[in-house]
């Protein structure tokens, strides 16, 4: 605190003065000779300034003694002119060196002064392909940032991870800041494997057309000033204010209209040789394609109903799955009004996106309206007031993923290769209704599609107000209040499934459902205030800028959830439609944080730039009163081309930079005290447990199975980074290189305890995690002529993660390793596949149980696979093998833009190499015999190569091995020891066991491409139209994956928005490509 007061006293020494004046006038033009509005003209050495009007004309009262005028405009080179009565100036756009970056807390800084890596992506890049999400538009464009879309269902969420995972059970999502204020980025949905949903994440609500630019601060250095929440990096979004350089007229209206069409990008490679059945025989009730070869004969299918049968040729339908899906449609329309004069500016916009996805009929919908109003005005008393307000209304309908009757795609994946899916569409007719549906083991996908429902409605308001006071050129202060309020209302229902009648006998064992309705509401609110005082002073060779700030934030969450299971009247989905006791849940949390911070920037000779930060936070989630922590940071930038000008012959501009920072991260609320919760016991399946209150009104509490931790402390991320920015050939070649080394210590973990402690788990601090890597961005302009410009940019990222230390208590005595499994923490237990954090390994390793092999080295069968003499299947050993981890080896983005006269063609390619994921889709296609691998050996019996059977003695001990003569066959075995069934063999992963379902997730995607024609301005001059362009746009147009992945788009995930998402997918809906048109014009 003392420091803060010292600073205030320092301010008090500043005095103001005024002198006699004279008036200067003139016109400022751009390089084309047009008048430039909004240019600042400053009487150098004073704070007297004027701004040019719409024609570029200014009038400035220049105090006596002032020798020079300084003309400045963002994106143009500053010009100094001696004072005269008339001073006309032509500004030239700056192509290099003087670029300005918005950094933490909205501070504008020269690129060359930055001691850390920051990447800015501008509006036109973000909106070129008209994605509904600005984050999706960033994909593959920023080094060090890994952006994945969970699925291509309308409105689904986008995950952003910077510089690897720095937390294991905590959040790895960056902090999102819009115009200086943190906003909510909650991912709304469920990663349940029994019906996953994804209603999108908060930041995807922002209309990309409203964004001026996005700056990505990847490291801790850039983020230190935002405190705890910024340890994973910060994404700063600056929205349009009405003062863009395009707004040369008093009012500019921009209209954007886009229509795109979505088609399936990737389905599994199907086999088209074998159809419905089992054991190589026809079976009209089957959900698998283990039947006989297609023979094109007319045959019955489905049950006999009222003495009638349906008939169709027993032939492959290569596109039966593809035909199930519709062509998706997305319409994106927006209008924006911007304007202003030298004192005030405003911007307002409305946009609507309506998307109907690839699921038939109106079952997957995303309908988003956004409204933005913002304005800024400079008052005569040196106050500047700005405010903005955004309202978003979002309606979504989502088709569940996962397993069971709730998931449409789960049904689709099991449909035999000869069943005409589209003929199942009328799910109420006698052939296709619940009672008579052809399969004994599944539900009509059209029934699931129409009778299960997930509807979400969201209203959100966010915005901020900022009051700035500029006391004089040196001293200024501002207060900013921001808030973000979201309310979601969700309605979900399951139908009653209870087949009746003669054909239901076969169906009575599977997939019955009592019907349910769930109504829930989720409320989230963030408040944030900042109060900042800054003081800057320039001397001849020395500038400094001091800043002190105070920050307060609060976030509230409240969830109300009510559900009834067991509906009385079918297809009436209201809570009241059940006499059962509803399950009720109420969740509420509140978190507060107070921070004070200082920032100091010093520059010497415009060559060496130093920056130092210090912040102290008090967090309500840490044990009171030990709830505060400090974090310091410092960085330096050295412009060596300015220091040694002779280098400029080779390198026009070059700087080296280095930074170090430490950021603390607090815990989630309510980890400190032990509590009691309403009693309930789980019992295997959903819905088989017991929850209080009981029917007779008896309620009960139980001691929560988590213990509070009164010693909880923050986790810290310490990061060192260094890098260089180099520019050659008049800015035609730019290289930006960064190396970073980031260590997280005292990780906040929810750790399981030995149950005999009386508790299942506790939030603890332990462990140490490292991420280090390189980020490179190379921008080249190979051609730059009058009519032709060609730009290429390449970004490359490689991150190495390593778990340096896990505590002794995580030592597994069997494996001898310290390990922490993520299965169970938001992930399902799927057979023998595990997803585990091991000490000394990269984060999150996939493991499976190895097949049993002959281990005796002197045996002639050494290394052979042992098969079970009963089942003929490879035996599962207790040996765990590590398959590898989920991290990409590297990512590479290649973008190119070619402009010829008024025509622009650009594209981006996103390349990600390495890493593994689990795929349930793959597993299902093996199980149901629908993928190409299952036609191995033409489904003729074969003996597993190099496989043996154990020879046992009378007591059952293994005394040797003999060659396996049990074939794997698709025939019906009728006695023991006849060998393995092919369905079991492939369904269990063949010789690889579960390893087969953990696949390589490498891919190359043509992420986007666009062709834009801008109408020449001279055609438009008489039409009140400022500019007009027409584009053909496409996203996710092509994908290449390695041979191991013939199943899915590997970006797919079913497990939320963080580390667990790396586990993979559990029957997510297939991804799409989109292609469409955009029309944009301004008035």
């Amino acid at each position: 605190m003392k420091k803060l007061f010292l600073l205030f006293i320092l301010f008090a020494f500043t005095v103001s003065f005024s002198l006699a004046q004279k008036t200067v006038t003139g016109k400022v033009t751009d390089n084309e000779g047009a008048g430039m509005p909004g240019v600042t003209v400053l009487a150098k050495g004073t704070n007297e300034a004027a701004i040019t009007n719409l024609e570029g004309i200014y009038f400035l009262n220049v105090p006596e003694g002032v020798k020079k005028l300084l003309f400045s405009y963002i994106g143009y080179q500053n010009v100094e002119k001696p004072v005269a009565d008339v001073v006309n100036v032509q500004l030239t756009p700056n192509t290099e060196l003087e670029e300005v970056v918005i950094t933490a807390l909205g501070i504008k800084r020269d690129v060359k002064a930055l001691g850390y890596s920051a990447t800015t992506v501008k509006s036109d890049e973000l909106t070129k392909n008209k994605d509904r999400s600005a984050l999706n538009a960033l994909q593959g464009k920023v080094a060090g940032v890994n952006i994945t879309t969970a699925s291509s269902a309308p409105g689904s969420s986008t995950r952003v991870i910077m510089r690897g995972f720095s937390s294991i059970t905590g959040s790895n999502q960056p902090l999102f800041i819009i115009d200086g204020v943190p906003v909510d980025n909650t991912a709304s949905g469920s990663s349940s494997i029994n019906g996953g949903t994804d209603f999108g994440n908060g930041i995807n609500d922002v209309n990309p057309d409203d964004i001026e630019n996005i700056t990505v601060l990847k490291g801790a250095s850039g983020a230190a000033l935002y405190g705890s929440r910024a340890a994973n990096g910060v994404i700063l979004i600056t929205t349009k204010s009405g003062k863009s350089k395009d707004a040369k007229k008093g009012l500019e209206i921009t209209v954007n209209s886009t229509g795109t069409f979505e088609t399936i990008l990737r389905l599994p490679d199907w086999q088209n040789t074998y159809g419905q059945g089992f054991f190589g025989l026809r079976d009209i009730r089957e959900n698998t394609s283990w039947g006989p070869k297609f023979d094109d004969q007319m045959r019955y299918w489905g049950y006999s109903i009222d003495g009638q049968r349906r008939i169709k040729p027993y032939s492959e339908l290569p596109d039966n799955v593809l035909n199930f899906f519709d062509i998706g449609q997305t319409y994106n329309n927006s209008i924006a009004f911007a304007g202003g004069d030298d004192k005030s500016s405003f911007y307002t916009s409305y946009s609507n996106i309506y998307s109907d996805g690839i699921m038939p009929q109106n079952n997957d919908i995303y309908n988003r309206h956004t409204l933005k109003i913002s304005g800024k005005t400079k008052l005569s008393n040196n106050f500047t007031v700005s405010a903005n307000m955004n309202y978003i209304k979002k309606q979504s309908k989502y088709v569940s993923t996962g397993q069971g009757a709730v998931s449409v795609y789960n049904q689709i994946l099991q449909i035999p290769r000869d069943i005409p899916i589209t003929e199942l569409q009328n799910y109420t007719d006698k052939w296709n209704n619940l009672d008579n549906f052809y399969s004994a083991y599944m539900v009509n996908p059209y029934y699931t599609l129409n009778e299960f429902g997930n509807d979400n409605n969201q209203d959100r308001v966010y915005g901020s107000t900022k009051i700035e006071y500029k006391y004089n050129e040196n001293l200024s202060a501002f207060f900013r209040f921001g808030s973000d309020i979201t309310n979601e209302q969700r309605h979900q229902h399951d139908p009653i499934i209870d087949p009746q009648g003669i054909n239901s006998v076969n169906r009575s064992w599977v997939n019955t459902n009592e019907g349910s309705v769930t109504e829930s509401s989720r409320f989230r609110r963030i408040f944030n205030t900042d109060f900042i005082i800054s003081y800057q002073k320039s001397f001849e060779n020395f500038d400094f800028n001091l800043m002190a700030g105070h920050n307060m934030s609060q976030s509230n969450n409240k969830t109300l959830y009510e559900s009834v299971i067991g509906l009385d009247i079918p297809e009436y989905y209201q809570l009241k439609n059940s006499g059962n006791i509803p399950f009720v849940y109420e969740g509420e949390s509140k978190k507060r944080l107070i921070g004070v911070y200082m920032n100091a920037d010093l520059s010497f000779f415009n060559i060496v730039f130093l920056n130092a930060t210090l912040r102290r936070d008090w967090s309500s989630t840490l044990p009171y009163p030990n709830n505060s922590y400090y974090y310091p940071g410092a960085n330096i930038s050295f412009d060596f081309t300015a220091a040694f000008p002779e280098i400029k012959k080779i390198i026009e501009f070059g700087k080296i930079r280095a930074g170090w920072a430490k950021v603390g991260r607090d815990a989630d609320p309510y980890q400190v005290y032990s509590t009691m919760v309403i009693a309930g016991f789980s019992n295997g399946y959903d819905g088989t447990g017991l929850s209080f209150p009981m029917a007779d009104g008896l309620n009960a509490y139980t001691v929560s199975n988590s213990i509070g931790n009164p010693n909880l402390s923050p986790e810290f991320v310490t990061e060192f980074e260094t890098g260089t920015d180099l520019r050659f050939m008049h800015g035609r070649i730019n290289l930006d290189f960064t190396y970073y080394n980031q260590i997280t210590t005292d990780l906040i973990f929810y750790a399981t305890l030995p149950y005999s402690s009386g508790f299942a788990g506790q939030t603890l601090n332990f462990g140490k995690l490292r991420n280090r890597g390189i980020e490179t961005l190379l921008t080249v302009t190979p051609v730059k002529k009058d009519n032709l410009t060609w730009n290429v940019n390449i970004n490359f990222t490689k991150n190495y993660s390593k778990v340096l230390e896990l505590p002794e208590s995580l030592l597994n005595a069997e494996t001898g390793e310290r390990e922490f499994t993520l299965i169970g923490i938001g992930l399902p237990t799927t057979g023998y596949t595990s997803f585990t954090v091991y000490e000394k390994d990269p984060i999150a390793v996939f493991t499976v149980n190895a097949p049993e092999t002959v281990k005796e080295e002197n045996s002639p069968y050494y290394g052979d696979i042992i098969v079970d003499s009963n089942t003929g299947l490879p035996k599962v050993s207790s040996d765990i093998i590590k398959l590898g981890n989920s991290n990409y080896d590297y990512t590479l983005g290649i973008g190119s833009s070619l402009t010829y006269k008024n025509l622009n063609f650009s594209f981006n390619i996103d390349i990600r190499q390495g890493g593994l994921m689990y795929s349930r889709t793959a597993e299902m296609t093996y199980f149901s015999g629908t993928n190409k691998f299952t036609t191995f050996n033409d489904r003729q019996p074969f003996i597993i190569p190099n496989s043996v059977i154990e020879i046992t003695d009378a007591d059952g001990y293994v005394i040797g091995y003999e060659e396996n003569d049990l074939p794997v066959s698709n025939n019906a075995p009728n006695a023991i020891g006849l060998g393995a069934n092919m369905h079991d063999y492939w369904g269990n992963g063949a010789n690889d066991l579960n390893k087969r379902f953990v696949i390589d997730k490498s891919f190359v995607k043509l992420r986007d491409a666009s062709l834009t024609y801008s109408l020449p301005k001279k055609w438009l001059t008489n039409l009140f139209i400022g500019s007009m362009s027409v584009s053909v746009i496409g996203r996710n147009l092509l994908i290449w994956t390695p041979e191991a992945n013939r199943f899915i788009d590997p970006e797919a995930t079913s497990f939320g928005n963080d580390l667990t998402a790396d586990y993979g997918e559990y029957g997510t809906n297939p991804s799409v490509r989109s292609l469409g048109f955009n029309l944009k014009f301004t008035f």
Binding site: F8, S508, W509, M676, D686, D696, A700, N705
Partner: protein, 519 residues
């Protein structure tokens, strides 16, 4: 300038002076930190039954050869092939008993001791002893002295010897029995006691019967005659059960919810039990124990008879043995369950700590072995009648088997060993569908029903020449070379997180006996 000063100073002062109030908000408004113990009691009394009667019931009934894995799904093949891992029954079984039940019970005991609320202390002690005895009977050595001390900071408890735990729970039961429970406290347990509605005499009877059960369990290992003869209180006179289920999700009997709602057809009746209750499984049914139709559904496709699967024959490799020559059925598939009898459990079938029948059978055994046996016949027959009545049958129905000299008539036994065998066999039958774990443990103690060691796989034709009805058979798909299960393995959660797991515990096999097991 001055105004700014003032604002700054005010802001700063405001935010700091109110820091305590502003930041000390970390108490979860939705999770209360303390509740009256009468609000914990229903959870503490019901959770052990739910854990043992839910997940525990399945493993217990498979190993007690009352149920077996159906051909319909692979769900519990591990249990039935005696191929378990350290994770079997860990989280929702062993773990839940500790972190749900025992933690709540300890909380109640601590609060009750502070307020001298001795009736709560008695109830909690009885259930706690019951849980620890079951843990010892399943795992032998488990944490006891150091257990449930997570809040005190001990998260790696030492293990105690099973025998020592027995000594301790006997002492704590005796201590609780001597407390004055006549004082009505402010927390009247009439509503919160879901077992006896606050009737402390019944709790004393339960405690007394539990002592008898504990003594008898040790009685083949140690001489317990003086302990047993000195038990002078009255014994349990009604079922100790949890009986408030209704037919809706999360409020049903857990086995009904699992086997009838979620995964229909996972479980079939074992040939071991069904073969004991009826005379001929293959032809027309000759039912000698009318309870069979109250314990099992007949097969959908062949309702004229009961049909059951040979224990552990989940691939029905040996379908010739159970389907009476019908070999038209695939070896694997959903429809097979339609040819098999399934357990008859309703949504409101109660969960039991101990039945009245069990109380009688324990007393009958004690009477023969320690008190001259004069009352043994009455006690035995009362036990059988109680078992019939539990199923809604009458004493007359019971009398049919009590008169059957080829089955359950007291007169059919002429020696004490034969009489004990009768008692134990009827006790085994009486536990069908409800007390799988207890039936399995009692089998380990009494070696009744007997174990028949020929694997049907070894000799498909003549394997059962020497087999007698009711005897346990070797699981067809066993992985233990025919050795019957005797225990569970030390839980993975302890191996993973507790360095104090004794090495010898890590190496135990499923067929290694617990401390009192002399068979």
């Amino acid at each position: 300038m001055k105004r700014i000063y003032l604002i700054i100073i005010l802001l700063v002062l405001f935010s700091f002076s109110s820091c305590k109030k502003f930041l000390d908000i970390n108490h979860d408004p939705d999770a209360i930190e303390n509740v009256p113990i009468k609000m914990i009691l229903p959870s503490a009394l019901s959770s052990p039954m739910y854990i043992l009667g839910g997940d525990g019931q399945i493993i217990g009934a498979y190993w007690a050869q009352q149920w077996t894995q159906s051909t319909n799904s692979p769900q519990y093949q591990g249990f039935d092939s005696w191929q378990i891992t350290n994770s079997t029954f860990d989280g929702r079984g062993y773990g839940a008993l500790y972190y749900y039940s025992l933690t709540d019970l300890k909380r109640i005991k601590n609060e009750a001791r502070k307020t001298e609320n001795w009736s709560y202390y008695l109830m909690a002690t009885v259930i706690e002893s019951y849980v620890y005895q079951t843990l010892v009977d399943l795992y032998d050595n488990v944490p006891y002295t150091d257990a449930i001390q997570g809040e005190e900071g001990n998260i790696t408890p030492e293990f105690d010897m099973g025998e020592d735990i027995y000594t301790n729970i006997v002492d704590s039961l005796k201590y609780a029995l001597n407390l004055d429970v006549t004082t009505i406290t402010s927390e009247d347990p009439e509503e919160s006691d879901i077992i006896f509605n606050g009737d402390m005499n019944k709790w004393k009877e339960f405690a007394n019967t539990l002592l008898l059960k504990i003594y008898l369990r040790e009685s083949f290992k140690k001489d317990m005659s003086s302990e047993i003869t000195s038990l002078n209180g009255s014994f349990l006179s009604e079922d100790a059960d949890f009986n408030i289920f209704v037919n809706q999700s999360d409020k049903r009997n857990p086995i009904y919810a699992t086997a009838e709602i979620e995964q229909k057809g996972n479980i079939s009746m074992s040939r071991t039990l069904i073969g004991y209750l009826i005379d001929d499984m293959y032809g027309s049914p000759n039912i000698r124990d009318s309870r069979v139709d109250y314990l099992a559904y007949r097969p959908n496709k062949v309702p004229e008879a009961h049909r059951a699967l040979l224990q552990g024959d989940f691939y029905a490799n040996s379908n010739v043995y159970y389907l009476g020559g019908s070999s038209t059925v695939n070896y694997w598939g959903a429809e097979n369950i339609e040819y098999l009898s399934r357990p008859l459990i309703l949504y409101d079938t109660p969960l039991y700590y101990m039945t009245l029948a069990e109380s009688y059978f324990l007393q009958a055994e004690a009477d023969i072995r320690y008190k001259g046996g004069a009352e043994a016949q009455d006690l035995y027959e009362n036990g059988v009648k109680a078992a019939f009545r539990r199923l809604g049958l009458t004493d007359t129905d019971a009398q049919v088997i009590l008169d059957d000299v080829n089955y359950a008539a007291w007169s059919s036994a002429t020696t004490d060993d034969e009489r004990l065998n009768l008692i134990w066999m009827q006790k085994w039958v009486s536990m069908t569908n409800i007390q799988g774990i207890e039936a399995f443990i009692e089998h380990n103690r009494t070696d009744t029903p007997k174990e028949f060691n020929v694997n049907p796989n070894s000799d498909p034709i003549n394997w059962d020449d020497d087999y007698e009805r009711g005897w346990f058979t070797v699981s067809v798909n066993n992985v233990t070379n025919g050795r019957f299960p005797r225990r569970l393995l030390v839980p993975q959660s302890e191996i993973d997180g507790n360095p104090n797991v004794p090495d010898e515990m890590r190496n135990k096999k499923i067929y290694d006996p617990v401390w009192w097991d002399v068979n």
